[in-house]
């Protein structure tokens, strides 16, 4: 087990290194001179040159990358080109908003998704099953952007029940969280339904039926418990997708998380900030995957690590 963990950690570090290089390369391939963008439309040529030197953009690519890495190792993500503030500080100030949104939506999606999946699996081909399939299909196919605006028009403008945007009061999270939940509940429900299906076909469930155990007991004590491993995996991975889905949701609802910051920074050609955010995103997703793998190996005796 220990060797396996070390191996997986090592792989995670390599992946992260690959990510830093890919991002570093990509942002530099985007046309548009960041020095010009940062300086603003009325800046003189000298001012632009000064900013270019200040940002280190006048040096060769590999040298820039090397400097970036050596700083990174010391935990220094650089200084934002747009705001002149340390990247890490800006990200940390806004990360809690994104995590909170993802956690709330994740919890909602898990509860409703698992419940819907279980019911659909036990009542196969009934009206509920069809409705659940239709609902989840609608959930995945409705663009976040469109759904978000619909919710705003309904709950904020028409009914005047909820805040339309921002994050100044507890109720502010409701609409963005609902939007994001719709996006991921479908996958959890479908996965739960499929897994439950499979488990309900197993011999021991049939034995339980034969013994005349009550339905509730069969489903919760026997079937769901064994279906949980893949469901936990999906939920955990879904969390990564939620972090990504938050980019659009945050823009629509003016939710001040790192998704919104990422969009702003891309438009402002704020290289250090874009790199920093992508790095944080990647780290979180790599850690999630690592966690899931380890959890998997831990809980399922059939999985051998080596």
């Amino acid at each position: 087990m220990k060797r396996y963990i070390i191996k997986r950690l090592f792989a995670a570090v390599i992946t992260l290194l690959g990510v830093t290089f890919a991002v570093f390369l990509t942002v530099r391939l985007i046309p548009g001179d960041p020095a010009v963008v940062v300086a603003g439309p009325m800046a003189s040529a000298e001012e632009v040159e000064r900013i270019r030197t200040q940002l280190g953009l006048d040096r060769p690519f590999l040298e820039q990358y090397g400097t970036y890495l050596s700083r990174l190792i010391r935990g220094d993500l650089g200084v934002s080109a747009r705001t002149q503030q340390p990247v890490l500080r800006e990200i940390l100030a806004r990360l809690p908003y994104t995590l909170e949104l993802a956690l709330v939506s994740g919890a909602l999606a898990t509860i409703t998704g698992v419940a819907a999946g279980v019911i659909a699996a036990t009542r196969r081909y009934t009206l509920f099953d069809y409705l659940a399939s239709f609902g989840t299909l609608l959930g995945v196919s409705m663009p976040v952007y469109w759904l978000g605006l619909l919710l705003i028009v309904l709950f904020a403008v028409r009914l005047q029940l909820l805040p339309a945007a921002g994050a100044d009061e507890p109720a502010s999270i409701v609409l963005p969280a609902l939007t994001l939940t719709a996006y991921s509940v479908a996958l959890v429900a479908r996965m739960t339904r499929a897994t439950m299906f499979e488990v309900l076909e197993q011999d021991y469930v049939r034995t339980a039926w034969a013994k005349g155990l009550p339905l509730r007991r069969i489903i919760y004590r026997h079937a769901l418990r064994n279906a949980l491993v893949p469901i936990v995996t999906v939920v955990a991975l879904q969390f990564g997708a939620l972090l990504g889905g938050a980019v659009l949701t945050e823009s629509v609802f003016a939710w001040p998380g790192i998704g919104l910051l990422l969009v702003d920074s891309i438009f402002a050609r704020d290289f250090p900030m874009v790199q920093g955010i992508v790095l944080i995103y990647s780290t979180m997703i790599i850690l999630l995957n690592l966690g899931v793998d380890l959890l998997y190996a831990y809980v399922d005796p059939r999985i051998r690590y080596g």
Partner: protein, 532 residues
């Protein structure tokens, strides 16, 4: 072993779900961790808080760092300038009560208002002015608009309330430049406080009617009334700028009554908002000219008859009515009306027959041009470009229209003439201060890319001469005449397809009043108050 394992799975799952639930419950409350305290404060204030939704998160709150009008507009609540502009673009006293330009134009002396205090209690005086002017000239301070002030040679304190700026050469545009937020007066003491320094200035302390209370990045800027303000006190105790990037969301916030005012609603919703009795729409005149820059160095476009033909070919009224929903006025000069130096030189009426005839005379049949436009940078820019391409097609000018994101776009069009890949591109030009000197940056050789942003590469020796003369002319009447003459030549030479002067849409709740505008795309809502 097996039951134990399963128990672990369940336990883990329970812990996971519990953790999610817990975070969900506490999350809601902890959400605005930074701002919740202030948030509830402001709602307790009830009707004494004025909320404005804007689209842009400040990159900096240092007045010297200003390049974005919306951000400058917010900072204007906190920091004031020596002179101000009014609704019509005229220069008015601000922190300076009066000023005197020396007969040779090489110095300006300001008499300062007395009894003015900065928010930190320190007095505003001639020393403070000297400190501020020297700061914006200091190359260590990041100041994108420094070029407009570089003409200042030194600052002399005559007495506590008299200060003289000595100039390298006469610069009649300087007063205009001093109205811009970048020249706003900050407390000298404040550069060593609140985490500020000379070069990084994040917490502005000025003399304005509102004090910066709190800024939550990406979310909101909260201002509080300054009790010792020297001028007329505003009505609202608190002003909150809420940062909402999506235009449709801003509109919803206003319609839901969650903010009192927004800028830039979705353009296509303007007619509906105008009919809605709950809100008022202000289509404020601005100084932003929108045009199609013509690459005047391109072989097919060197002949001015061709460029004039393009001007006659486009029905601007029609586009303003149907595509911009009335939010613009047709250009009748190469600059907007509020600018000092403006005189009417146009128009180019819609006349496709004349356009065809001019193209024929110039031998420019079968023209094929590359045409690019940004999307979402200016009101309905892409939609307008499609309409323009269609009008050009009707006189036999074929265009291939494409669009790209803004940084890519500027990288494509702001290149030296020999690297130009497109022949037509849409651009907006909004002088930061109301002077023709600013507009003429678009028509002089010194400002051809890469040095400047005059991306039509237009030059005319006579215009160069007139502009150079006007930029130094001390006699304002004579100056006006020189710019006007230059403008007439530019109009005739048609380096642009002159389109329209964009209006700046401001929408506010019908329950508030006293909301106005400034001609440089700023709103003026400091003295907003509820309708009686």
């Amino acid at each position: 072993m097996r039951p134990l394992k399963s128990m672990r799975v369940v336990a883990l799952a329970v812990v996971l779900v519990a953790a999610l639930l817990l975070s969900a419950c506490s999350g809601g409350g902890a959400a605005p961790s930074g701002s919740s305290g202030e948030g509830s404060d402001s709602s307790a204030g009830g009707d004494k808080t004025f909320r404005i939704a804007v689209g842009i998160d400040p990159d900096t709150l240092d007045p010297a760092g200003m390049t974005t009008t919306t951000v400058a507009n917010m900072v204007d609540y906190i920091v004031e300038t020596l002179v101000k502009i009014d609704k019509d673009g005229n220069i008015q006293p601000g922190l300076a009560e009066s000023w005197q330009v020396a007969p040779d134009g090489r110095s300006i002396t300001f008499k300062l208002r007395q009894g003015v205090k900065f928010h930190d209690g320190t007095p505003f005086n001639a020393e403070a002015v000297k400190f501020n002017i020297e700061r914006i000239l200091n190359p260590e301070v990041r100041m994108p608009l420094r070029a407009s002030y570089a003409v200042i040679q030194s600052v002399e304190v005559k007495d506590d309330y008299t200060v003289t700026l000595h100039l390298k050469e006469p610069a009649p545009y300087l007063l205009g430049a001093l109205t811009y937020t970048a020249a706003g007066m900050i407390s000298p003491k404040s550069v060593n406080e609140h985490g500020n320094s000379m070069t990084t200035y994040q917490h502005p302390v000025g003399t304005g009617p509102y004090v910066l209370k709190q800024y939550t990045k990406g979310s909101q800027l909260v201002l509080e009334k300054f009790q010792d303000y020297w001028g007329e006190k505003p009505y609202y105790d608190q002003v909150v700028f809420q940062i909402v990037p999506e235009a449709a969301t801003r509109e919803s916030l206003l319609l839901a009554g969650q903010v009192d005012m927004i800028i830039l609603p979705p353009t296509s919703d303007i007619p509906a908002l105008q009919k809605n009795p709950k809100v008022k729409v202000l289509l404020a005149p601005s100084d932003r000219t929108i045009f199609v820059a013509i690459n005047t160095q391109h072989p097919a476009l060197k002949d001015k008859r061709v460029r004039q033909a393009l001007n006659y070919a486009v029905n601007k009224e029609e586009i303003i009515k149907n595509v911009l929903f009335g939010a613009a006025d047709v250009m009748d000069a190469p600059m907007a009306k509020p600018l000092l130096g403006y005189c009417q030189t146009g128009p180019y009426p819609y006349d496709p027959e004349k356009a065809k005839q001019l193209l024929q005379e110039a031998g420019a049949t079968n023209l094929e041009l590359k045409f690019v436009t940004p999307t979402g940078r200016y009101l309905q820019d892409y939609q307008a470009a499609q309409a323009i391409a269609n009008f050009l097609q009707q006189v036999g000018v074929k265009t291939t229209l494409s669009t790209m994101d803004w940084p890519t776009y500027t990288a494509t069009v702001q290149v030296p003439p020999e690297q130009a890949t497109v022949q037509l591109h849409i651009l907006g030009w909004a002088p930061t201060f109301m002077d023709a000197q600013q507009q003429m940056l678009q028509f002089t050789k010194d400002n051809h890319p890469p040095k400047g942003l005059a991306s039509s590469y237009y030059t005319n020796p006579r215009v160069e001469e007139l502009v150079a003369q006007a930029n130094r002319e001390v006699d304002q009447a004579k100056r006006q005449q020189l710019y006007c003459e230059a403008a007439r030549i530019i109009w005739e030479d048609a380096p642009w397809i002159f389109l329209w002067v964009q209006r700046f849409p401001i929408v506010h709740s019908a329950e508030v009043t006293n909301i106005s505008y400034l001609p440089n795309e700023k709103f003026d809502a400091i003295y907003a108050r509820p309708v009686q």
